[in-house]
């Protein structure tokens, strides 16, 4: 089997402020993971992490992309957005810290759980951000099944 055969890659566009479509990408991802037979506990963690990441883009950025990459070893979610960026990443990673507006909170978002929740559910998590330019996330799940 050629090595490119062992890699599944899919790209999703996320549009900012479109709350009506928010969550559809994480549903699609879940469908793909079920089809290829990923363990249900991993699917659940990936569903939570991808949903939180998708919501962050919807809430704060104009546009973003999510790239799903699967190999027999790992599941990689790469997110990039053109949002306002994060000034203090350490602070943003604290549970309960949020810069959500009142309106977002009214809709039940912005409890300051998003990023910590992604980190908690992922096996590996990286975040880089440049204020004024955007944020990118690398969320990784190990698939090595004994």
């Amino acid at each position: 089997m050629a090595s490119s055969d062992l890699e599944l890659s899919e790209r999703f566009e996320i549009s900012g402020s479109d709350f009506s479509k928010a969550g559809t990408i994480s549903t699609k991802i879940k469908g793909i993971l079920q089809e290829i037979g990923i363990e249900s506990s991993v699917i659940r963690r990936a569903a939570i992490a991808s949903y939180e990441a998708e919501m962050n883009v919807v809430m704060y950025a104009k546009r973003g992309t999510l790239i799903l990459n699967i190999t027999p070893e790992k599941l990689h979610l790469k997110l990039e957005d053109n949002g306002p960026g994060i000034n203090d990443i350490e602070k943003a990673m604290q549970e309960g810290f949020s810069t959500a507006t009142d309106k977002m909170r009214e809709m039940g978002f912005g409890a300051g759980m998003g990023l910590p929740n992604i980190k908690r559910n992922a096996d590996r998590f990286e975040i880089t951000s440049e204020p004024g330019k955007g944020t990118s996330l690398n969320i990784i799940f190990c698939l090595n099944r004994a």
């Binding site: 055969d5 599944l8 969550g23 879940k30 089809e35 290829i36 037979g37 699917i43 939570i48 949903y51």
Partner: protein, 457 residues
Amino acid sequence: MSPYFHSIRIDTEKCDGRMKCMRICPTQAIRVRTGKATIIEEKCIDCGECITACPNDAIIPMTDPFGELAKFKHTVALPSPGLQAQFGKDILPKRIIAGLKKLGFDDAFDLSLTCGEVSFAIQEYLREYTGPRPLIAIACPTVVRLIQVKYPALIEQLLPIDLPREVAARELKKEKSKELGIKEREIGIFYLTPCPAKMISIKQPAEKGRSYLDGAISISDIYGPLLSALEDTEKENYRKDLEDICILGMGWAMVGGICRTLRLKNSLAVSGLGEIIKVFDDIERGKLRNIDFIEAYSCPQGCVGGSLTVENIYTSHNKILKLIETLEFEQIKACPDIREVRKLYKQNYFFINGKFEPRPLKPLDKNLAKAIKKRKEKEKIYESLPKIDCGICGAPTCQTFAEDIVKGEAKLTDCIFNLPRKFAKLSHELSELLDKSVSLDSIKSNISKAQYKKDKK
């Protein structure tokens, strides 16, 4: 042999392959190849949508015929609260019970009090529960199967409190065998069911334990005979009959019926599979953690909307509401004793016997590397399809068709849109071939041959 028992069967004599079932099936479990519908057993969750959709009545719910009663020494009817919903406040449970006895059951038992007890037990369980929320009610067997098949990660959120019909059947068997001096297995307890899904929860419980019920008879089968039997029963003291009804249990047949008996700040009641799927997607994303309890019914409006009921579903929903209003107006509070329920709860009286296990669908391949490859192939095939979900290939959508192809269960040429393409290619190849091989001489000889044929005629 499939490991799954299903409560529906396709009568191939009657099926003429009109695909209505295939198009309506919410889990894409039906294919119509070679002109007849077949069910993919691992995908079917027994919702019964296909039964209602079939114009030929070719999909048959596998409920028990009346004759099954003869197999037992003593028979008891256990009507679903959905039966009461067919009659509302005009005919109260006591008269229905009398009618059922006239039909040939040795005894019949109204479930409203047991439903009330189970409501209290759920309240107790919720109080001490510390796991992930929301907890999901198990009243609808189709919902339980939907979770096993499509949301295996939510299995641990299924409420482990048994259903009123099971609790009542278990206790009735104990009581009756003592009272009549016969063995428990000589007593036949039959559920009068609003849907075929209850039948599988009896024949093959999702929690892998065993059911205390012996069978299920469709409400639609019993409705007619029961109506005539009711004519002969006397209207007794209406107010006194009303006093026997437990208001807590009366609502169990309709959506929201359990939630209204629980004192919860945050609970949801959902009905209809499409709506349930949206809510379960949200739970899986961790969105509804602030909700304590969810009751979900695959049929619209709850069990009153079951495919084996008779009355219009909105009418029967309303009939139950009116009965509850009457009970409230008359200030009737025939409820179980909460202290007694608490005592029984501590003795594990209300818990299910067994454990729910996931039943995830087979992936494209057991080997992850191969599954990834197949998934890519599938996408490639899907991109080549017309994406109009016409169903002519025998699969409900172009997506499922592509899936069937990579699984080796269908061929690309089953797609009618691939045929003209194939013919165009073939005819192109053919004309190219002819261009190469045909010379002037042979055309002449062909003309003379054709001429010769003509002459011969």
